[in-house]
């Protein structure tokens, strides 16, 4: 859905969303790849909040459709939170949200849970964080 971007980038708070299935190993459940193994046409519709300052060592990847080796080595290739913070400190953007969003890219075709639960929840979080714009990175 189209919406004009009305603020200047230098005055805007930006959020990131990756569908690489990132999660915090110590504090968040992994996306449910066990259920997907049992039911290959199902994909976990839940989401995770990833702090902008999370270290690579804190981040896990749960996505059965990609080789996760490079993302584990450098999560910035899927969720460039540190780079965005750097651009914010340089004034390229007004700021970055304190947390970014992660979902798992493989979903069932109907997308019912996504439409009814996941998407409204993500919109709520972005509104709460006063994000002006969202960069979505598919995986």
């Amino acid at each position: 859905m189209w919406a004009p971007f009305e603020k200047r980038l230098q005055a805007s708070r930006i959020a990131l969303l990756t569908s690489a299935g990132l999660y915090l190993k110590a504090s968040q459940p992994k996306f449910d790849v066990v259920r997907e193994q049992d039911n290959p046409e199902w994909g976990d519709p839940s989401w995770r909040s990833i702090p902008a300052g999370a270290d690579a060592a804190e981040i896990g990847v749960a996505h059965l459709h990609i080789n996760d080796q490079d993302i584990l080595a450098d999560p910035e290739i899927a969720l460039p939170a540190r780079m965005l913070s750097e651009l914010a400190s340089e004034g390229v953007v007004g700021g970055a949200t304190a947390e970014h969003l992660s979902v798992m890219g493989y979903q069932d075709r109907g997308l019912e849970d996504w439409r009814l639960l996941t998407f409204p929840a993500l919109v709520g979080v972005l509104r709460d964080r006063q994000a002006d714009g969202l960069i979505l990175a598919p995986a």
Partner: protein, 91 residues
């Protein structure tokens, strides 16, 4: 990645990057490449004048695409791929 699919799905703003899956912002450890992609995404976010705007990034993946696209595959086939292969009698 897959900008043609993004167009088909009517994404309002698209940055086309012909990179292997899982590498939306570039190669691991290559901060210059990651920055170029993110900066372009931000420019397209703020500067696109109409829905469906697509800008392809002028970066060639520094590994032959045939090798790169093999490398992004998971070590074990995904459940849906396994199921399809079984259906087609190729498991």
């Amino acid at each position: 990645m897959m900008p043609a699919v993004a167009e088909e799905r009517r994404a309002p703003r698209i940055v086309g990057v012909e990179f292997p899956f899982g590498h939306s912002f570039g190669m691991a450890g290559d901060k210059a490449m990651q920055r170029r992609v993110l900066e372009l995404a931000l420019r397209v976010l703020a500067g696109a004048a109409a829905s469906g705007t697509r800008v392809d990034i002028d970066i060639e993946w520094p590994v032959p695409l045939r090798d790169a696209y093999k490398a992004w595959q998971p070590k074990e086939a995904s459940p849906i791929v396994k199921k399809l292969l079984a259906t087609w009698g190729r498991a």
